[in-house]
Symmetry: C2
Subunit: 413 residues, 2 copies
């Protein structure tokens, strides 16, 4: 169980039930999942994942990258989701299928068609229009479609309920992730929400780069799911910013089976989906490429939540702040220089900065001992007060380390 | 002499005369300069610089950081410049005097007063209101005023015309710079423009972090100088972006002595000041902290120059693009992912990307051999066509290297 009052940079909601990280998409009744190795990744390992909703409901919602350059599977899944229904989600690592033009879009379409016919052969009647596709990996190359289609056939055979199916799927979507990310909530009213996510670099603004599938067995309409998902991503993934980059493939999906037979209120659903997304966001931060510090930047004293968020994001993206924190250096002057550039209202003579709860700068001037604050631990909280209001917001970020540079200058799969 | 058609990311103006890098602020008649060691830097070395205008004119203009958190010397010099007159500029490395509150402002005031009285003692009648002050170094600490004032006294004694005075001053403003930056143009009409600059990290958007003093012996009014300086900085320093950070101390000053007795037209002045600033910007890029690649990002096919500039800056700031180029990796997909986030008009299916003149992506898809383009040389040009118009603009930037991380995580003086 996670202490949400500590980890959440968003609303300090408490998880409305027990939150566990050992279960994911199959913790909600009515879902089966699997992961197989189709040979898409140079390194080997599971690379095709499948999540199937066995109903009785097929309600679904999705949010997608705001990047103008959208990968083929994003264009496909956005189109499919206009119906508010999803039978299944197929995901692959080992290739993003982005910047692949019309042929790449046809590859995605073919993948959905092949999955629909394979599922239908096995007794789950469905069409390509009920299937979302997600891809992650290097931008710019076509996928080896013989391997993808073989993997799709195989992953249908492997479909399983219970914990193992969801865990295999969570492994199959990893790229430079070092571990799978899952979270699930068993609501006290008898329904469940479970999710899995991947993402380790290119994590940013409007949707940290990532694929994420969340499931629930509550009875909920597509509209309710859409509201819950937008609320949750705005408070969680949108407030994770590792390197300011937003990928071409970001996708977060929410599927409801209604298998519990229990109706959740909008408020209950919002809280449970947020709790799962927030915990997954925390796991994404902790496993970001090259991370050596887990950093929460909390800005208060702002005129509006929007100002607080912009200021926190500006600090979280500043290379000089990030390198200083990598070096455990309480260089608060860089925090002031960074926030001074944010397009927000602030009082330049009334800024307060604290590191891990110790004030290092008051009224925009250093305090005695400020340069001796110990930042050697992995977790660092940077708190900044703008001195002009009472709104606040937080961003999760990481440091800028040698390992980040190494991983991203050598990255090729 | 520099080939400006190659190096300038701004207007492809040709230098209106011979451009040399061996002379700086004292290449214009009527200026004397010096640099001394006052003991402000832990490492030792020259750390107090002085540039004095001996007239007959004292016209001047300045542009300053847009950071809301402004160092004391910036606040002081902005105020002084409202008169359009400057007798002298005193600059120190070894401390930014930023985030030092009212006491820090008094330190700046005292420095100007002390310089005015020392210059007056030596026969150059002046007041503090004709003296600009610039500081660079760590943010947040008070300057050791006994050393600063001692240095001011000494630097007045050392004042010299000729090349050596300007060169000493250029050395005295260095921090993590590895070499002094100077440039001068001898205009064919008989007047001169010379300049010096420092800046190696925290180089960014609206004014790359830096101190820069430019002098001319042309006859020009404060208004003319103001126009020439704003034109030049917009085309040069504002298009240099090493790490997206903008300092609290950025200052660029332009002083005219009128000592040549020759009036320059606005157009001539604009071109000469731009040529000097552009060359200094090129030197700043080449000596940026941790640089291993000198990168020009040129965006064309844009709806407006503003769009082209925003797109180029977005690419130039992208950590994943910068780490890929550090690794000499022609990972064009990251360029597309980066530009797709820029708030500009573009055709997502018609983007063209070239590395060093070789097209690697056409119509938003990779071309054969794209991943084999050789980027092992130090200079890299990234050209991107947005496919929607005919406007273009360029940004100078650098890679994100291990050395950048090292220098900035250990930086403390």
């Amino acid at each position: 169980m996670t202490d949400h009052s500590q980890s959440s940079p968003g609303a300090p909601t408490r998880a409305p039930g027990v939150l566990v990280r050992t279960q994911g998409v199959t913790s909600a009744a009515g879902f089966r999942a699997a992961g197989v190795e189709a040979g898409l990744r140079a390194k080997g390992g599971l690379d095709v994942a499948l999540v199937v909703n066995e109903g009785p409901d097929l309600a679904a919602a999705g949010v997608f990258t705001l990047n103008k350059i959208k990968a083929a599977p994003v264009l496909w899944s956005q189109q499919v989701l206009t119906s508010g229904r999803l039978r299944a989600v197929v995901l692959n690592s080992g290739g993003a299928n982005a910047c692949t033009g019309a042929p790449g879009f046809q590859d995605t379409h073919r993948t959905a068609e092949h999955l629909a016919s394979t599922l239908s052969d096995w007794g789950t009647e469905t069409g390509a229009g009920e299937i979302a596709v997600c891809s992650t990996g290097l931008i710019g190359d076509r996928l080896p479609m013989d391997k993808v289609l073989g993997g799709v056939t195989e992953v249908v055979h492997e479909l399983a309920g219970g914990i193992s199916g969801g865990t295999d799927a969570a492994y199959a979507i990893m790229t430079t992730d070092t571990r799978p990310k899952q979270a699930a909530i068993h609501h006290e009213n008898g329904w469940n929400v479970g999710g899995m996510a991947k993402g380790a670099g290119m994590l940013a603004p409007s949707l940290a780069t990532m694929l994420c599938v969340v499931t629930t067995d509550a009875v909920a309409s597509a509209d309710q799911l859409d509201r819950a998902l937008r609320h949750a991503t705005a408070q969680s993934f949108d407030r994770l910013d590792v390197d300011g980059a937003t990928s071409t493939n970001d996708t977060v999906l929410l599927l409801a089976s209604g298998a519990s037979g229990i109706e959740a209120t909008q408020e209950e659903l919002d809280a449970a989906v947020l709790a799962v997304c927030d915990d997954l966001a925390d796991q994404l931060m902790a496993d970001a490429e090259g991370v050596t510090k887990r950093i929460i930047v909390r800005v208060g004293g702002a005129e509006s939540e929007r100002d607080a968020l912009v200021a926190a994001r500006t600090i979280a993206r500043d290379s000089l702040v990030k390198t200083a924190l990598f070096g455990s250096d309480p260089n608060w002057g860089r925090v002031l220089a960074a926030v001074g550039i944010a397009p927000v209202a602030l009082d330049p003579d009334r800024i307060v900065v604290s590191f891990n709860g110790s004030p290092v700068c008051v009224d925009s001037m250093g305090v005695p001992g400020a340069r001796e604050v110990d930042l050697s631990a992995v977790d660092i909280t940077v708190e900044v007060d703008l001195g002009v209001g009472s709104a606040s917001a937080s961003i999760r970020t990481t440091d800028l380390s040698h390992a980040y540079v190494e991983e991203n200058s050598a990255y090729s799969s």
